[in-house]
């Protein structure tokens, strides 16, 4: 069976033409997203400018023309970089990032990464890892595309946590914390209680 199946699949290959189409399509999609953002920037930038002018005109008309026009406030899109410490990570993302103290294992290594405006802390143990992500968002920021067999919710301290997992246990916890979306991914999955403790035990 192995031989027959492999012989069948040997016929399925990316040709050069296919590779070119895939590459061009992928790049176009990525650039399109970037362009959309750029267009959005121009559109919303123009709108913001109009609003500023109208507000200023209404309130400060006498002094408007004598003042130099300053560029609007800017938010620099941060570079995604590794941080040496939690404090450095907080400075990079611009919001507090909690230390998870309730993890079901003792981390031997902690890695801090700022993905744009998203903070990520990766806790590495002997045989387990837990990846904590936090960002201002309404969406699932986990980056986990697994279709889990089980999705359920639990309440803890007034917070609704969405848990995803399979028969082995809970692999992913998602929750909201004010304006922030948070996620905690366990490898391998852990029991529900341990997952919730891990997510909610913070300093």
């Amino acid at each position: 069976m192995t031989k027959a199946y492999k012989e069948i699949m040997e016929r399925v290959r990316l040709t050069e033409e296919m590779e070119q189409r895939v590459l061009m399509g992928a790049l176009a999609a990525m650039e399109s997203s970037a362009s959309s953002r750029a267009c959005g920037f121009r559109r919303w930038g123009a709108l913001a400018a109009c609003l500023v002018v109208m507000a200023a005109g209404a309130l400060l008309l006498p002094g408007l023309w004598s003042q130099p026009v300053e560029p609007g406030p800017v938010t620099v899109t941060p570079q995604m970089v590794s941080a040496a410490t939690q404090q450095e990570l907080e400075e990079l993302v611009g919001f507090p990032v909690e230390t998870l103290t309730g993890l079901p294992f003792t981390p031997t290594q902690v890695e801090y990464t700022a993905y744009g405006e998203m903070a990520q802390v990766r806790y590495v143990g002997e045989e387990q890892t837990a990846v904590y992500r936090k960002a201002v968002s309404e969406e699932d920021i986990s980056g986990d595309y697994t279709l889990y067999d089980h999705i359920w919710q639990v309440e803890r301290d007034g917070v609704t946590l969405t848990l995803k997992g399979n028969e082995e246990g809970c692999a992913l916890v998602l929750w909201k914390q004010g304006d922030f979306s948070c996620s905690l991914r366990f490898t391998p999955p852990v029991e529900e209680t341990l997952a919730v403790d891990g997510a909610m035990g913070k300093e």
């Binding site: 069976m1 027959a4 199946y5 492999k6 012989e7 069948i8 699949m9 016929r11 399925v12 290959r13 990316l14 296919m18 590779e19 189409r21 895939v22 590459l23 399509g25 992928a26 790049l27 999609a29 990525m30 650039e31 997203s33 970037a34 362009s35 959309s36 953002r37 750029a38 959005g40 920037f41 919303w44 930038g45 709108l47 913001a48 609007g72 406030p73 800017v74 938010t75 620099v76 899109t77 941060p78 570079q79 995604m80 970089v81 993905y115 744009g116 405006e117 990520q120 990846v131 201002v136 968002s137 309404e138 980056g143 595309y145 697994t146 279709l147 889990y148 399979n166 028969e167 082995e168």
Partner: protein
């Protein structure tokens, strides 16, 4: 070049997400901060290079897995493309090339299953036609038997026989338990055995 948003625009969540998405692309492809001008020639070259590397390393694997779900070139090719696009979007944490491959296969599997779920499949199966036209009825028989399996068996069969993954590794890729995968592999092979009878040896241990 630094990407800037005006104050009002910076307060708009979807615009921030788009910004983050672009950053994700740059980060995942290993862009340096000083080169961050979207759509510049350097960006295109870097994106092209990294995407080309992924395609060269894993393109055939992704295509074959997608084909095992979708049974035609056009759909499978689109899955390869969509998988590449998801890579920088998700900014996955990858510890090794094996982990990278497993992540890509997991995304490709989920994208393929989504496509099946929404019934966006083409009817033609050029592989079946090719096998028949070459007079390889033996392989055609096997392929048709595999295609007739439910998706949950088929994907396990593919990852086990084609990619050589252990059942535990398959469990991690598909987000299922090892026990479920072993059960699905057993049942899939049972069904294949029923179809193929004694034409092939199915006594390989789990």
């Amino acid at each position: 070049m630094e990407i800037c948003l005006p104050g009002v625009a910076a307060g708009i969540p979807w615009l921030r997400r788009l910004c983050r998405f672009w950053n994700g692309i740059q980060e995942a492809w290993g862009k340096k901060p000083e080169d961050r001008q979207p759509c510049s020639q350097a960006d295109r070259q870097e994106l092209n290079r990294r995407a080309g590397e992924l395609l060269e390393s894993y393109g055939d694997c992704i295509l074959r897995l997608a084909w095992s779900y979708l049974h035609n070139s056009s759909d499978a090719e689109e899955i390869v493309q969509d998988t590449l696009i998801r890579y920088p979007q998700a900014a996955p944490q990858l510890e090794s090339p094996a982990h990278e491959k497993a992540w890509l296969l997991r995304v490709a599997a989920n994208l393929s299953k989504n496509r099946i779920r929404y019934n966006r499949l083409r009817a033609a199966d050029p592989l079946s036609e090719e096998l028949v036209s070459e007079g390889r009825e033996d392989l055609s028989f096997v392929w048709e038997a595999v295609k007739a399996l439910p998706v949950k068996y088929r994907e396990v069969i593919h990852l086990y026989y084609q990619e050589g993954y252990s059942t535990q590794e398959i469990a991690e890729i598909l987000g299922r338990s090892g026990a479920t995968v072993r059960s699905d592999l057993y049942r899939g092979r049972q069904r294949l055995r029923g179809i193929l009878k004694e034409a092939y040896d199915f006594d390989e241990g789990l």
